[in-house]
Point group: C2
Amino acid sequence: MDIFDDIVKPTLMLDEATARLNVARMVDKARRQGIRFRPHFKTHQSAAIGEWFRDEGVAFITVSSVDMAAYFANHGWDDITIAFPANLRQMDELSDLADRVRLGLLVESVESVAALHRGLNGSAAAWIKIDVGSGRTGIPWDQPAAVAEVLEVIRQASNLEPCGLLTHAGHTYHAASRPEIEQIYATTRQRLQCLRAVVETQDLASPPPARDTSVVQTQNSGSLQISVGDTPACSVVDDLSGVDEIRPGNFIFYDAEQYLLGSCAWKDVAVAVACPVAALHPDRQDVVIYGGAIHLSKDFMAYEGHPAYGLAALPEGNRWGDPIEGAYVRSLSQEHGIVQVPQPAFDKIRVGDLLFIIPAHSCLTVTALGRYRTLTGEIIPTMNVV
Amino acid sequence: MDIFDDIVKPTLMLDEATARLNVARMVDKARRQGIRFRPHFKTHQSAAIGEWFRDEGVAFITVSSVDMAAYFANHGWDDITIAFPANLRQMDELSDLADRVRLGLLVESVESVAALHRGLNGSAAAWIKIDVGSGRTGIPWDQPAAVAEVLEVIRQASNLEPCGLLTHAGHTYHAASRPEIEQIYATTRQRLQCLRAVVETQDLASPPPARDTSVVQTQNSGSLQISVGDTPACSVVDDLSGVDEIRPGNFIFYDAEQYLLGSCAWKDVAVAVACPVAALHPDRQDVVIYGGAIHLSKDFMAYEGHPAYGLAALPEGNRWGDPIEGAYVRSLSQEHGIVQVPQPAFDKIRVGDLLFIIPAHSCLTVTALGRYRTLTGEIIPTMNVV
C-alpha cells in the first residue's frame, strides 16, 4: 500500500528529520557565535514540535500573541517574549503570564509603557521596538530622542525592566540576492549599534543594570541588548556577531519563498501540502487541485515574473520529489488551486492523484491547516486545534 | 459599560439583522422569478446561520467540500450540491452522503464519471461543470462535443442522474462596473443556453428524463437544467430569468470588495473584524492593529489604485460606522495589520482602542476566525471550531 493512500484532502506533510536538522543547525550557529537563541514559535505553533527545540537545549522562545504565550507557558516554557506591541486590551492575560514566566514585552510609545505600569500586575522585561527600515512598526532607528524618552519611562516603571532594542528586519524577505540579505543584516546591526551608542551617551546618568543573559553569554558589554531575527539573514549571514539575541522562526520548515530567496536548499524545506487532483486541463497545462486559499493562504511570492502561491512536486518514495520545473500555483480561490504544470510532468498526473505543493509562506499554511502529518503518518496538532 | 469592552483580540462581528435581511431579499428575488434558490453555505459555514435560511423556506443548499456537506447533512439539510469537482479520494464519504441526502456532484471528464460509476455506492445527481469564461475549471462552453461525451457517460452510469450545466462566472468579481456585471451575466446565460441547445440537438435519441425541481418550479422546459451563481450578478441583475437555479453565497454578509464593486450598499455589509489598536505612526498616518493575515486572510481588492486587504470604520453605537474616507488596510503580516487612516479620523484613535476592518473577502475571513460575535454579544460557531 502506498503510504499516501489514506490522504483524502489537503494535508500538511512534515518531514521531521529535516525540521530537526534545521533546528540543530541554527542552535549550533548561535552557540558558536555566543548569541542567545530565542526562536520564534509562531511558525510551528505546536507544543510537540517545541520539544524538538528543547532536545537541542533551547530555553528561550518568541511568540506572536498573548494566546500563543499562554499556550507555550502551559507546556512548560518559562522565558517568553511576545514579539508584538503589547496588547493593552489583554492586560489581565499579560498579568497572569507575568506571574508564571519571565515575560518579554514590546513597547514603542510612552503611552504603552504608562499603561503597562498602571495595569500590569507582576513584572516584565521591556524591549523597545525599533524600525530599522522595514516600515511595519516600531520607533524609527534614526529617532534616538524618541527612543531615549521611552527608555526613561520604562526605567521609571517599577514593574518593567529595560532590556534593549529589538527589531524585525522583514525587508530581507524582499531581497533579490544573498549579498542583499547580507547587506540588510549589516545595515540593521550598524543602525542598532549606533542607536544604542547615542541613547546610552545621552543617558550616562543611569548606570547599566546587571543583566543575566543565562546559558549563552553574550559578547556585548553595553547596558542595552540588541535582538534581531529574520530567517533569511540568520540563514545566510555567516558572521552574526554584534547582537545579543536572534529570533528566527521560519527556518524550522522554510518554504518556497525562502528556497527562491536562497535561504535554504530544496532538501531543507520540511513541509508540503499534499493536495488531491480534482481536474486536468491539458490544453492549458493546468492542474486543478483540492487545495485553496483556506489551506495554503493567499500569500504569494514572485516566480519567473508571476505571482505564485507555491511550487509543485510529485510524490517520490515516502516524500515529495524535486520541484517540477516551471510549475507553480498560479491562482487560488476558497478551495480550488490552479497549478501550471508544464509537460512532461503534466502527462504523469491523473485526476485523483496527489500533488505536493510547497507553500509560498509556511507560517500561514500551518495556521490554516492546524495540524501536521509526518512522513510516518503521525498526526501532530498545533495550538489551533483541539 | 461599552458593549465592546470585553473584546480583547481580533473578533468577527456579525450584524444578524442585516444578514437576515440580505437572505430574505435574495429568497424573494428568486421566488418572484421562479428560479430555484440553492445558496452557497461556504460563506457562513455555520449550522446556526443555516437556520436563518430555513426560516425563509430555503430547502436546497450548495457547499464547497465533502466535509462541509457532511456537516450540514448532520444538521438536517437533505438536498446538497457540492460545487467542486467530485473528489475521487473521498469516495467513501461521498457514498455515505449519497445514502443520506439528495446529493449533487460536479463532473467535467469522462474519467471522473467512470470513477463515480465504479466507486460510488448510492446515487447522485451529476452536474457538468462548464467554464463560461472565468478560466478556473470546467469544460469550456464552446466545446459542446466534450460536454455531450460526458453527458453520454453520465446517462450510462446507473447511479448518476444527469442534471444539467453548472457554472460559476467568477469573473464578475473583477468587473469594473454594474453594467459590466450585467453584461457578464447576459453572456453567461446565453452561452449556457446555446450550449444546451447544441448538446440537446446532438442528443435527440435520448428522451429527456422527468425532473422534480421541487417547491420552486422553473421556467425552462429543456431536459438539461442551468445553474449559475455569483453574488455580484445575483445582486445587481434585475432579470435573472432563463436559468433554473442560482447559487450565490457571499451576499449574506457581503464585504469590502462587493461594496466597492457596487453589489451592495455599505449598510448591507453584515460583518466586520474588531481589531485592537497596537501602535500609532502619526508621521505616516498608519494605525498598527492586532489583526493580520491569519485573521483577515491575504485576499485583497483594488482601492484607489492600491491593493487593499480591507476598509476601516470607527465604532458607532453598538456597530461600526461609515467607512473612514481614504482609509484602507495597506499591509498584512501574520498578526499585524497596517491601516492607512488619514486625518481627521487618525487623531481620534488611541492605542488600545478598537478599529473595525471590513474585510476584502468575507468568506476567507470567516474561515480564518472560525466564529462570530453578534452585536448583542452572542457567539456563533462555524464548522471549523468545536
